[in-house]
């Protein structure tokens, strides 16, 4: 075992240089003001944190959370049944269905979002279809709905795959046993399948919510910049405004919020586990 530890050193060094140091720098910038290129001249300041509390920025943060929550919710509502269909289909069909889910993920994220632009834009496929059918045009893009659609589309596989994995591992005998004890398919679902799939749901929610809350570009492309998200705001501070202090404090706040949501999720998961260990009610 001791010898094996040596193998971890390069990785530890790598982690220190490229993960720990940058995070510490972000923390440092967020708590200071002054010239970012001259670490010695930075002065302590909470100014950039105070700026986050300005209504205009608070609104962006709240917006990001609402959109991330909504897209997670829709991903769950859409993804769970899909995961169930895939898990229940026979092995030959299953492979193909999984392919359909995974292939879009091989394509670049930007490209996929551009594809949605050409569908949703005012003169895009969707509206031309509406014209053909003689229906009124839809004004989805630019707007929140388009951003939401783009997010759901991009993150859906991350919801489906963990749920599918858990569902496909549930022993069929449990379902037969529930049936045998008088539960019809609906009650079997709510009493057996759903509770047993909670770990998959939790990791699906985590895997969708985290990238969704920090996403950028999507809102720029599909939302026309009308509904900036916290990710866009951070990008803007670093790339265009050059205000690294404010960008850093936004990043730290986003990180703290993500950590809190993760803690909540792992708590839900752990509660499930605890029940497994015999602490449940009688």
């Amino acid at each position: 075992m001791k010898r094996m530890k040596i193998l971890a050193y390069p990785y530890s060094v790598w982690m220190a240089i490229f993960i720990v140091v940058p995070i510490l720098l972000v923390l440092l910038y967020s708590l200071t003001e002054g010239d970012i290129r001259n670490l010695a001249e930075l002065r302590f300041s909470t100014q950039s944190y105070e700026r986050v509390l300005e209504p205009i920025y608070l609104k962006v943060i709240v917006n990001s959370f609402i959109l991330a929550t909504l897209s997670t919710l829709f991903c769950l509502l859409l993804g769970y049944p899909v995961a169930m269909i895939v898990a229940r289909s026979n092995p030959k069909v299953r492979g193909m269905l999984l392919m359909f889910l995974i292939v879009p993920m091989w394509m670049n994220f930007l490209l996929r979002t551009y594809a949605w632009m050409s569908i949703l834009s005012p003169n895009g496929f969707l509206n031309r279809l509406m014209d053909l059918l003689g229906l009124p045009r839809l004004e989805i893009m630019p707007g929140k709905t388009a951003v939401l659609l783009g997010m759901i589309y991009n993150f859906l596989p991350f919801m489906i795959l963990p749920i599918y994995t858990v569902l496909s591992k549930i022993d069929k005998q449990f379902l037969e046993a529930a049936n045998d004890l008088g539960a019809n398919n609906m009650r079997t679902f709510f009493k057996i399948i759903l509770p047993l799939s909670i770990p998959g749901v939790v990791s699906g929610i985590t895997m969708v919510f985290l990238p969704a809350v920090s996403t950028f570009v999507i809102s720029g492309l599909l939302g026309g910049g009308k509904t900036p998200l916290i990710g866009d705001l951070i990008e803007h501070q670093f790339m265009w405004e050059g205000n690294w202090h404010f960008g850093s404090s936004l990043s730290i706040i986003l990180m703290v919020m993500i950590l809190i949501s993760m803690a909540i999720m792992s708590r839900i998961d752990r509660n499930g586990q605890q029940e497994k260990n015999g602490q449940s009610k009688v």
């Binding site: 022993d171 009650r187 497994k276 009688v282």
Partner: protein, 350 residues
């Protein structure tokens, strides 16, 4: 007319074109302990699953108290199952597992608690209610699985090799427990096993199956003492199966000797199979005093008895005896007329 709780009529089931269950007919009486016995792949589990409703028969009918059961979904059948791997719900504790069926039926809370506690007590699981199922031993899980099924007071309990995963000693104990339980609750048990000893120990009726067909239905004594054919004789217990000629009623000839037997109704000089159980051959030290002579070629100590192979010019006999005869010794063997079981020869197999 006798009352049957379950009747199978011409029941068949195929997987990928292979007939796993091939038009079987079976009648099961109320409160009977019936065992479906056979090697793996003989169709016994599939038959049980069709009764439980987990497989649809391709052909044939299942009757429950005279009514057609085929279209009834499993959750509406008054039948419960103890699954091979128990299938206890991993997200519930022992109490909740057992209470599951009653909760589904929406019984009043105090009745649920009362019935679950009664059955847990009966199964010696009184203090296990709050335990998680993964923390139980195999035998305890087994009892939870049985309790979960029995608490619903089904008319028929299906058991799919329920003792298969237990070690020998525990298995023997559970056999006795199950049997006591069946007697005390008065429920029809349909039990699937490949263990012939288990089948003989527990059952009122044994149904021997092979390749989707029923080979013989009878009491354990019938099955053991009067096997219908070579397969049953071979599968149930150890046996010497001998090709012989039935000279006339009560006279059968093999190994250059004409034996008295008790079987009648075969044709004159009809080729038959004869079964002699190893414990029914008596060895005498003076070869001249035996009906058959032979040489002991191997001796194995089995605890209660010695298992010896005795060879003559025609075949080898397996003999169980509490007396030991050393390898190489020349001995004679006698057999009582009632211990010679004559069966019809099937087809032209050797």
């Amino acid at each position: 007319m006798e009352k049957y709780i379950i009747e199978l009529r011409n029941l068949s089931k195929s997987y990928n074109g292979i007939k796993v269950v091939n038009s079987i007919d079976l009648k099961i009486r109320e409160n009977e302990f019936v065992t479906l016995l056979g090697p793996s792949g003989c169709g016994k589990t599939t038959t049980l699953r069709m009764i439980g409703g987990f497989e649809d028969p391709d052909e044939g009918e299942i009757l429950f108290q005279g009514k057609l059961l085929n279209p009834v979904p499993p959750y509406k059948r008054n039948i419960n199952t103890v699954f091979q791997r128990y299938a206890l719900f991993p997200h519930m504790n022992v109490f909740e597992n057992v209470a599951f069926g009653l909760r589904i039926k929406k019984l009043p809370k105090d009745e649920i608690v009362e019935r679950v506690e009664r059955i847990l007590k009966m199964m010696d699981l009184e203090n296990f209610g709050k335990r998680h199922v993964d923390s139980l031993s195999g035998g305890q899980q087994q009892r939870v699985a049985i309790a979960r099924a029995l608490v619903n007071e089904p008319k028929v309990l299906l058991l799919d090799e329920p003792l298969g995963a237990l070690d020998l000693k525990l298995r023997k104990e559970m056999q006795i427990e199950l049997l006591d339980m069946q007697r005390s609750v008065g429920i029809t048990f349909i039990y699937v096993t490949h263990d012939q000893e288990e089948a003989l120990t527990m059952s009122d009726t044994v149904v021997v199956m092979n390749q989707g067909h029923i080979q013989q239905v009878g009491t354990p004594e019938d099955i053991y003492n009067e096997p219908n054919n070579r397969f049953v004789a071979d599968f149930i217990g150890e046996s010497n199966i001998i090709e012989a000629i039935m000279l006339e009623d009560k006279k059968v000839r093999f190994d250059d000797h004409t034996f008295d037997c008790v079987d009648v109704g075969f044709g004159q000089n009809e080729p038959v199979d004869v079964v002699i159980r190893p414990e029914d051959l008596q060895i005498v030290t003076d070869p001249g005093k035996g009906m058959i002579q032979g040489t002991v070629i191997s001796v194995v100590f089995k605890g209660v008895h010695y298992e010896m192979l005795i060879e003559n010019e025609h075949r080898e006999y397996m003999v169980h005896s509490t007396l030991m005869f050393p390898e190489g010794s020349r001995v004679g063997m006698n057999v009582q007329p009632v211990d010679i079981h004559v069966m019809k020869r099937e087809g032209h197999e050797s």
